[in-house]
Symmetry: C2
Subunit: 447 residues, 2 copies
């Protein structure tokens, strides 16, 4: 039976509860969570209450935030405690961060003291830090443990740990000294000592490390999990690859939004209100609109020339657009290259020199096409052709150079290069391309 | 000792080989692979030959493609066979795909028949399909196996399987019937029957499925691995999350490049030649340049009006830029929303209606600022102010509407929405905003 059929049955209330329970216990918890999105308040609570106890908190962690709130508000203190105590700490924190103060208070009152301490600890770490995405549930072993004992530890407490495939070895003072995978454990003899077979070369993060840099490490070393330590190198948590997959998608979205002159949204497109949408877009639109005063002023100073030869006006959009696209192509490639770690600050000269040559090639090719087009569309006026073509060539070359320098410059000043991309680049390229155009027109056409 | 120090020692040849071997066997294989990038041909081969045998093929899989080729060309047939037989099939295929024909021939001649068959099988799947990123090494169990036997299987063949944490259960005819995680195995009793404890609700892919859709499934279900079946539902391979992390990063880069009017590059920025770079950028620049003929023509038809009131010219860049950014903000949000599965085709009306209201809000706010600016910068000319402000408002509204409709329209026509984004949108918004501007100017200013 698929999701839609089960959904229909729930909505029609046409199935007895014991049968529904059996159906649900066979389903993937992520799919069950999706059913909640289609139900009204009453049905949501009804369905949640009949979920088999063993999967309830797992399902809860996948339900979207609004419906999670609906459920929590309808549950008794006891029930809240039961759900929250079974939730992994990182999932609990993700949920609590979005709840209003009164709900948070009720949740924290009803969880076990140990869990409350862990939740409060993670809540303290800044957004985007390793600490904020880690979980405090992991398997820790001692160097003197035998493989046999490690398996016992895993069997005893494994069910409540987010991953049992990467175990971490620490000293009595919690100092991280090694890691061992379940694979190594399974392929070792029961009597082997953990300290002898563990990997001492562990890739780890500090709680304050940036989550984007950690995602790069996951990709580079093909990791499933990474331990997180405090500044004294004591183990405090782990980050698992499923959270890193989310980080990578979110960070890419943020970069894409910044490059399109948007303030990144906290929420999904559909859930963001129109006022928030307008606010996220207003800032950069305003800056761009006002900075266009510069372009306007440049055009005004050349008003006489344009009145004498009005045809010159009609090429302005072409020059500005081609320049704009040339610049944004370069800056996009470089911003992305830096984001994924392919381009570093030391490559600055290499990159700019590359862009200059690419600009010359593109400028020559486009200039050639442009010359022919203008020649035949404008009464074979060679001087006009030369003016437009030379301006186009110089504009493309300039745009590619500026487009490559700006992001690198931003990175060096520790500004996010993605933000530089759209607005500042557009303003500079527009203004300079007009100056180039009018200067060449003055000389060639003698205006 | 860190990477740089080891590198220095290798370059100076100032260390005896047995000591170097010990150092290397303590290092992470990814870090060893990075050392190769800094060495010349002679040192590369020298270093590769002294790598401990057990890690040589693992290190090889992380070395970049150019240096892999250098190594393979220098090795004997025997050595090639040794390396390739130990390489996981998916890594072998990634490498072979980039090699020239003579190298491929030599490699395939020297691998075991079984491996050759598997490599040839994966090479057949189209790029971007599930088949092309899967590996054929996985643990397969039978329903009648006991947990005890499963552990024996893992211990016997686990070292050569890419993951042992997800095992797949198939019938004698290779039909996939279930999955079982190493966690479940470890938490079960040795005498439990696999068929009784396995998960029958398996998220799987067909060999022909698109890799981007599979990445979404990995994210949704927080998977570590996914089985791949042929059209008869027979198990043929698995995909692991480390490859999916690469897919997500690559697909985001591709989308970003398309949105910036670039033909996505096969290679990294620095490795792409300047001719290839110019080629990747030329197409869309040419299209944009030629489509600006439309804008040029529209300006020409209004030449008289512009000559009478030249100040109108100076607002053209402002209108076009603000319209351009308004449109690209909308299309970017919607293209990305569709790429990550947040916006579906059924949301079309919701999205367009949302964008219209956001456009009105932004248009009102920017119109207000603009009115004041134009009023005080242009001798308190109210008619001029009205013309510019009304044009701005209509342009923003139009740009947001077009920016939201275009990507959805593209998706419906099964064109990649990311491609629509930059060039077509710019052309439409530029042309329509000029028509709006000149129409309003004619009416309000009576030109």
């Amino acid at each position: 039976m698929n999701k839609e059929e089960i959904l229909a049955l729930i909505i029609e209330s046409s199935m007895d509860i014991s049968k529904l329970k059996i159906l649900l216990s066979d389903m993937n918890t992520v799919d069950i969570a999706e059913i909640f999105e289609e139900l009204d308040r009453e049905k949501i609570i009804q369905l949640f209450r009949i979920l088999p106890k063993v999967i309830a908190s797992d399902v809860f962690s996948y339900i979207d935030i609004d419906h999670q709130q609906t459920i929590i508000e309808a549950l008794s203190d006891n029930e809240i405690g039961e759900i929250m105590n079974k939730l992994f700490v990182d999932d609990a924190v993700d949920f609590i961060e979005e709840m209003p103060a009164n709900v948070v208070k009720r949740i924290l009152q009803n969880v076990k003291a140990e869990k409350r301490k862990q939740i409060n600890q993670i809540l303290q770490y800044p957004d985007d830090s390793a600490g904020s995405i880690m979980t405090t549930e992991y398997i820790d072993l001692r160097e003197d443990d035998k493989v046999r004992e490690a398996f016992d530890t895993i069997r005893n407490i494994g069910l409540n740990k987010e991953t049992i495939y990467n175990c971490y070895v620490m000293r009595r003072d919690r100092l991280l000294v090694g890691a061992i995978s379940a694979k190594t454990l399974m392929l070792s003899r029961p009597q082997d000592r953990i300290g002898d077979i563990m990997d001492t070369n562990v890739v780890f993060a500090y709680t304050t490390d940036d989550r984007e840099a950690i995602a790069e490490q996951f990709q580079k070393y093909a990791l499933l999990a990474m331990p997180v330590v405090d500044k004294e190198q004591r183990l405090v948590g782990i980050i698992t690859v499923d959270d890193i997959v989310d980080v990578i998608v979110e960070e890419s979205t943020e970069d894409i939004e910044k490059m399109a002159a948007l303030v990144p949204s906290e929420d999904t497109y559909l859930k963001t209100s129109i006022f928030q949408h307008a606010k996220n877009r207003f800032v950069w639109m305003l800056i761009l609109m006002l900075s266009a005063t510069i372009t306007g002023t440049i055009i005004s100073t050349f008003e006489n020339g344009l009145t004498v030869l009005p045809i010159l006006m009609s090429f302005i959009p072409m020059l500005m657009n081609t320049g704009g696209i040339a610049g944004s192509q370069s800056s996009t490639l470089i911003v992305r290259g830096m984001a994924v770690g392919e381009i570093n600050l030391k490559d600055i000269l290499l990159v700019v020199w590359k862009e200059i040559r690419v600009g010359m090639l593109c400028g020559l090719a486009l200039g050639f096409v442009n010359f022919i087009r203008v020649y035949f569309m404008n009464n074979r006026d060679v001087k006009l052709c030369l003016t437009i073509t030379m301006s186009l060539f110089c504009t493309i070359l300039m745009a590619k150079t500026v487009g490559s320098i700006l992001p690198i410059f931003a990175k060096r000043l520790k500004i996010d290069p993605a933000i530089m991309s759209a607005p500042l680049l557009t303003t500079i390229v527009d203004a300079v391309s007009l100056i180039i155009y009018f200067s060449i027109a003055k000389v060639v056409l003698g205006l």
